[in-house]
Assembly symmetry: C2
Homo-oligomer: 275 residues x 2
């Protein structure tokens, strides 16, 4: 969280800004809607340039800065980086631009994992960029340097989720292959380090067995946001119902169907931002 | 092919320009190197914005125009659209900008399929954008309106190829699922309508059986290019060895390994273009 001496308290009735490289961050919006039903939310998904997980650090940082500036122009009171890839490689750029607090899914997921593990053996799965960045390991070790971490990139999980094969033999076979190296260690906690993965949670739980606790970073993010709203006295106190606004940089094929699967409800009017 | 009365014959010693949304088009470069060993080639892969297959027509057209202008500034004698998605939805934009002939993989693959089929039942597989555009069906019907076409989007094939699972149980299971609806019809020819798919050719041949002829659009493209160079008297006559130049808009993770798998040889120095 960015929180220094020059910090000016934002308007608590403003919306929370949430952004992602695409529509995966809608799983975070869904968790926020459920946990914080009186808060307004503005979402930005960079659907014209998704996926970020395979791009270079320079490119990801440039894109993250552009989105941050867009959301700040909407007067948000809090910025949530719902994209693991951006949180992993561009957090400093975002914090450097933002006068409002910045929360991110990696920090939220890492804190949850530290609380959950008894064995202090934690697995982390995510896109290649997230895993190669080692950001979860660093975030977990900031809390407890004694935790052993076993990580695994799972590049096929995002396309499998977008194909809707959430409980499909291909996905089970892929999950078994990816998770075998992680589960041979005695982990008791597995961090789902990508916003697409909450949709695979039932299947992944079956593959790893019920004794391994899965950390859903969307739920972890909603808990962390609630804590920060309390800590900073930023809860929305207005009597009007919350406002939800969705911006994307492109409306791709299959957008509505995939978006609604992620959000868990019908997706209201989506505005397209071109730059 | 763009070829009108105002056409000015390009310099036959210039390079052939090849472009794709990413690195899939390197399968076309490989086929060109083998079929046209004396021709210089300039390749552009838009790796910062890949994949195009899930983006809107407007966005794809804008990106295609930018790449066309970049390659024309390199004085190419011929433009090859090695991206099925761009050929499907942005061909007119590219042709409109180009004073040199424009060839594309869809036209090349369609011609090959028309020559190959006896049953006049043809299957086409590709990305969702390519299949939804119906571009292969239109291109095939320009040659022979009596051919029946059965098409199927295969969104997981690109990530499977990039994961390197070219002969993997997950890929076999996925291929069986995708191809079942197509092969229940009595097709004798299947067009691999995506530049990533040549790497899956051995596996796909096993899945569909040896009686179905697979049209590899990279090979078809090289044949078509040879025919056009002859027809327009554009073969390179210089005595110097051919020059190969590779431009990308980003150097993503795993780029070198995947690129070399596609090109079938070591990938020389790659230049990054930022815009």
């Amino acid at each position: 969280m960015c929180h220094d001496m020059n910090f000016v308290k934002p308007d608590s009735n403003s919306a929370i800004g949430v952004f992602d490289s695409g529509i995966g961050g809608l799983t975070v919006v869904r968790a926020l809607m459920e946990r914080l039903p009186f808060e307004s939310i503005i979402y930005f998904g960079d659907t014209a340039r998704v996926p970020y997980g395979v791009k270079s650090v320079d490119t990801i940082s440039k894109f993250a800065g552009e989105i941050t500036e867009f959301l700040l122009r909407q007067q948000v009171k809090l910025l949530i980086v719902a994209c693991n890839t951006m949180a992993a490689v561009a957090r400093e750029v975002i914090v450097g631009l933002s006068p409002v607090p910045v929360l991110d899914v990696i920090d939220a997921g890492a804190s949850s994992a530290v609380e959950a593990t008894r064995a202090r053996y934690v697995g982390v799965i995510g896109t290649p960029a997230t895993i190669n960045s080692n950001a979860y390991a660093r975030a977990i070790h900031r809390h407890d340097a004694g935790i052993r971490i076993f990580s695994q990139a799972c590049p096929l999980f995002v396309p499998l989720v977008e194909e809707g094969w959430l409980d499909h033999p291909v996905t089970r076979l892929t999950a078994r292959e990816y998770l075998r190296p992680v589960t041979t260690h005695q982990i008791d906690t597995l961090v789902l380090g990508c916003t697409h993965y909450p949709l695979l949670k039932p299947l992944l739980q079956k593959v790893v067995g019920k004794d391994i606790h899965l950390v859903d970073s969307a739920e972890a993010m909603a808990e962390r946001t609630a804590a920060v709203l309390t800590e900073m006295d930023l809860w929305n106190r207005s009597a009007s119902p919350p406002d939800y606004r969705f911006f994307v940089s492109d409306v791709p094929l299959r957008f509505q169907g995939i978006g609604e699967r992620f959000l868990g409800r019908s997706l209201p009017k989506v505005q397209v931002v071109k730059w």
